[in-house]
């Protein structure tokens, strides 16, 4: 498999300098290295700038509704657990309208890889506050400053029970690629929070800001220690944004606990059913 195999007829519609380019590139590199293709992989996206990635990536996909990518992906995984299922979702997409789905997917530990395109804004609708927008930020919907306290996707993911939680920076392609591969290899629910600049609408979280203020978690960070991971997830500030795997736990995935799909995927199960015994219960 080559990079060109993933190219479609569509030209990118993202603004120049958009963090989605880095994320897209890192994902394609990961796909080529792991042979994720139309025979083994399905991509699901929500609605937002991030969702356009599906038009530019030649792997079978579903563009769902705003906030609803996770339940669609869950249905796909339950129906065919052989597929690698990736969810591309925006920070607004999965934490605002899709917050409920995000929490419960983490809690159930479905074997999904959720990649959060986090630019701390609603950008497709031209720049309103979203759940990751910093306090006091002036946006088109908060002209006098944002009154809502922000939440980090990684904090919510750890609290909700996700078993692989990582953060990466969109412009660091090799690291991001590595983390996407590790997230997909993890058996259970993985969340990768990808910090990305929105050069058009977010003048604070620029490429330069992330380069100056992020650092890689070192060997002293114990990924199995949930309390430490939670503390790290809350860290945010100048020179204080941790990147890397924050938390990882070995725990049976939801799909591994369903006897019906132990031997083969649900879609290959027989629907030719003998119901005589069951009918007798009603006589």
């Amino acid at each position: 498999m080559k990079l060109e195999d993933l190219t479609t007829k569509c030209k990118s519609t993202w603004c120049p300098g958009c963090g989605n380019f880095g994320l897209w590139g890192a994902f394609k590199n990961a796909a080529v290295s792991q042979n994720w293709d139309n025979t083994n992989t399905c991509l699901v996206a929500g609605i937002g700038c991030h969702g356009h990635i599906l038009n530019f990536t030649k792997i079978t996909s579903v563009e769902g509704l705003h906030g609803r990518a996770i339940p669609v992906a869950t249905g796909i995984k339950l129906a065919n657990n052989k597929l690698n299922v990736f969810v591309f979702t925006g920070d607004g997409d999965c934490l605002a309208e899709g917050g409920n789905h995000f929490i419960h997917a983490c809690r159930r530990n479905h074997n999904l890889t959720i990649i959060v395109h986090n630019n701390a804004l609603f950008s497709l609708t031209t720049g309103q506050t979203c759940p990751t927008t910093p306090l006091g930020e002036k946006t088109k919907s908060t002209p006098s400053g944002n009154l809502d306290y922000p939440i980090h996707p990684v904090t919510l993911a750890i609290a909700s029970g996700a078993t692989f939680v990582a953060r990466a920076f969109a412009s660091d392609l090799p690291k991001l690629q590595e983390i996407i591969i590790a997230a997909n290899a993890h058996d259970g629910l993985s969340v990768v929070d990808v910090l990305q600049p929105c050069p058009t609408l977010n003048k604070d979280y620029t490429n330069q800001f992330f380069r100056e203020n992020c650092y890689q978690l070192g060997p002293d960070h114990d990924v199995k220690n949930k309390v430490q991971a939670f503390a790290k997830s809350l860290e945010w500030g100048l020179k204080q944004i941790p990147l890397g795997i924050l938390y990882q736990e070995e725990k049976p995935s939801y799909e591994s606990a369903i006897i019906q799909i132990k031997e083969k995927p649900l879609i290959e199960s027989s629907t030719n059913r003998n119901m005589e015994e069951l009918f007798k219960k009603y006589v």
Binding site: T8, K9, C10, N38, T39, N40, T41, C42, V44, I47, H52, L54, N55, K58, I59, T60, S61, V62, E63, G64, L65, R68, P71, V72, A73, T74, G75, I76, K77, L78, A79, N80, K82, L83, N100, H101, I103, H104, I258, I259, Q260, I261, L266, I267, S269, S270, T271, R273, N274, M275, E276, L278, F279, Y282, V283
Partner: protein, 596 residues
């Protein structure tokens, strides 16, 4: 026509009213009789009044009834609430400690329950035994049922049997003169199944090849999810309880995209949340079945009571135009059949199919000849092959494209944005128009290939035609038995709608009576929209209770009286009276002015 015998058993929630009622029903069917049950209960788990009506007859019973012949009262409240429903010859079976009166056949239910060794919990079993004694039934059938019901708790089988026998013996020894032959065992007994709509739909879904169901609990479809959850490992499908109804429909859509036969179910409030997902299924051409179990709305409304008030909502659910098949079932057997049809239609037309049922269908039990086990599964244009130059949304004459699933080597985008034939987002004019026409043309294909002619019960031509859909079916059919010149146009397909057939049938009828469980007359509005015929005479009931045959019969008679001078002929003989003076019928639903 054999008379129906109507029993009401009532008590507080937690006294086992429902299980006793179901056991009594099985005693009846195993004795060769037919049953129909109707349960009323508040939205509580314990406390509150529960009552179940069990109608028993040698002939089929199709609807609940207003009258009560035997009231089994496990507490005083039951008597307070239902005494006025009893006719002159009716009797009350209760504990003499609870109530005394002229209609009462007293049995020391509490004392016998305690003597049997199970305390107050066994009162319902003692009452069952007494009832079997009183109605001339076979105690052995009850004992067998006790063994079957408590097979997982063998230690309580014996005390229940003792309790049942003590109730039975008490009646035989003390009230021998009151014993009837209502439950007398027939010579030849054909096996019958007792199912409610939630049983019927679960069995239909399993027989129809269901592979995935995601259902959030909500009355009245909760029983459906309990059934589906229980049998999933045995039959190899997956039931998943999601976090909300939004997730329910999106999970079902995801499973369907991946190739699984999928359904979800809910009631009105949950359906409100699902409307966004319906549109997703519509534009992405994803098969999905949505069972909508209606109850009295709006909002929380009356959660444990019935209504047919979401008919227009279901027809119009979701923004924008997309093809949507809307079916309506009238009883649990039909719900069994229509779930299977809905699964096939969803796959065939790659679009959402909504099946309307209501609380009365979901929760009322009815006895039927055993269901058909054989079932034709039609997956339509689903392909699991690798297809060269595959186009998921290829244009086609019938509007239906070949459907692949992820993982088969075919690239496509299942896209909620308007898209081209592969699925890439596209807002080009020509593409928008052709994709829109393609999707919408599926309704015409469906109407042409699959929509049946609507059913007419009674004579092909009649002076009065009743028109209705849903759970009013049974009560209307019961009423029809008394009026030979009334027929019934019964609708199960609401979209696509059999407009020509309905117009032709109604045009033949002198008078039309629309019967609905809602305030607005939503079916009448649909008929007017599709056929131009405006129906003037209606029975609209929105108090949560079913429409009883007695109410329909009264309405038919009122039309008859209005049509006839006071000294006129025998009441109820609509044939003569309408034929003699049709033009004098008050509030005449003449349709000649309505042919727009």
């Amino acid at each position: 026509m054999a008379e129906k015998y109507s029993i009401k058993i009532g008590g507080s929630a937690g006294q086992g009213i429902k299980s006793a009622g179901l056991m009594l029903s099985k005693i009846a069917t195993r004795s060769g009789l037919n049953i129909y049950t109707y349960t009323e209960y508040p939205s509580l788990i314990r406390g509150g009044h529960n009552v179940m009506q069990i109608l028993i007859s040698p002939e089929e019973v199709l609807a609940p009834s207003i009258k009560t012949d035997l009231l089994i009262a496990l507490n005083k409240e039951t008597i307070d609430l239902h005494l006025n429903e009893l006719h002159d010859q009716a009797i009350i079976l209760c504990d003499g400690e609870v109530f005394q009166g002229e209609k009462v056949i007293s049995a020391p239910l509490s004392k016998l329950a305690n003597e049997a060794g199970g305390g107050e919990l066994l009162i319902n079993t003692v009452a069952l035994g007494a009832t079997v004694g009183l109605l001339g039934g076979d105690l052995e059938i009850l004992k067998n049922l006790i063994t079957e019901s408590f097979s997982v708790k063998p230690e309580i089988v014996e005390v229940n049997k003792v309790a049942a026998k003590s109730g039975y013996d008490f009646i035989v020894q003390n009230h021998a003169d009151k014993i009837t032959q209502t439950l007398k065992k027939a010579e030849n007994i054909a096996p019958k199944m007792i199912i409610n709509g939630n049983d019927g739909m679960a069995l239909g879904a399993i027989a129809g090849g269901l592979q995935f169901a995601s259902i959030y609990p909500m009355t009245p479809i909760t029983g459906l999810l309990h059934n589906l959850a229980l049998y999933q490992e045995q039959f190899g499908y997956i039931y998943k309880q999601p976090e909300d109804e939004i997730s329910a429909i999106n999970m079902a859509i995801g499973a369907s995209v991946a190739g699984a036969r999928a359904l979800t179910a809910t009631s009105g409030g949950g359906f409100c949340l699902m409307t966004e997902g319906l549109g997703l299924a519509g534009i992405t051409e994803t098969p999905v079945v949505v069972i909508l179990g209606m109850r009295a709305g709006p909002s929380t409304g009356m959660p444990t009571w019935s209504e047919n008030g979401d008919l227009q909502f279901a027809l119009h659910a979701g923004h924008g135009d997309f093809p949507k098949i809307v079916l309506s079932a009238g009883d649990s057997r039909e719900a069994f059949d229509l779930v299977k049809d809905a699964l096939n239609l969803a796959d065939k037309y790659q679009t959402p199919v909504i099946l309307l049922v209501d609380k009365n269908i979901c929760e009322n039990d009815q006895s039927f000849h055993p269901l058909e086990i054989s079932s034709q599964i039609d997956r339509g244009k689903l392909s699991l092959e690798t297809i060269p130059d595959y186009q998921r949304y290829a244009l086609s004459d019938d509007g239906i494209s070949k459907r692949s699933v992820p993982g088969k080597g075919n690239f496509f985008i299942v896209n909620s944005d308007e898209h081209d034939e592969i699925g890439f987002s596209s807002e080009e004019i020509e593409n928008r128009n052709s994709q829109m026409k393609k999707r919408m043309s599926k309704l015409q294909t469906c109407a042409k290939n699959d929509m049946p002619h609507p059913q007419i019960f009674g004579p092909q031509k009649a002076d009065l035609t009743i028109v209705s859909n849903g759970s009013t079916k049974g009560a209307i059919l019961e009423s029809l038995k008394k009026f030979p010149n009334v027929n019934f146009l019964y609708l199960t397909w609401l979209n696509p709608f059999p407009a020509d057939a309905v117009r032709n049938i109604l045009a033949e009828s002198k008078y039309i009576l629309d019967i609905e469980n809602n305030f607005l007359g939503q079916l009448a509005d649909l008929i007017r929209e599709k056929t131009g015929i405006e129906i003037m005479d209606k029975i609209l009931k929105y108090d949560g209770r079913p429409i009883f045959p007695e109410e329909i019969e009264d309405k038919i008679r009122s039309i008859v009286i209005a049509s006839d001078p006071p000294a006129g002929g025998e009441r109820g003989n609509l044939n003569t009276e309408i034929a003699s003076s049709p033009s004098t019928i008050a509030q005449g639903s003449r349709n000649d002015g309505g042919q727009i």
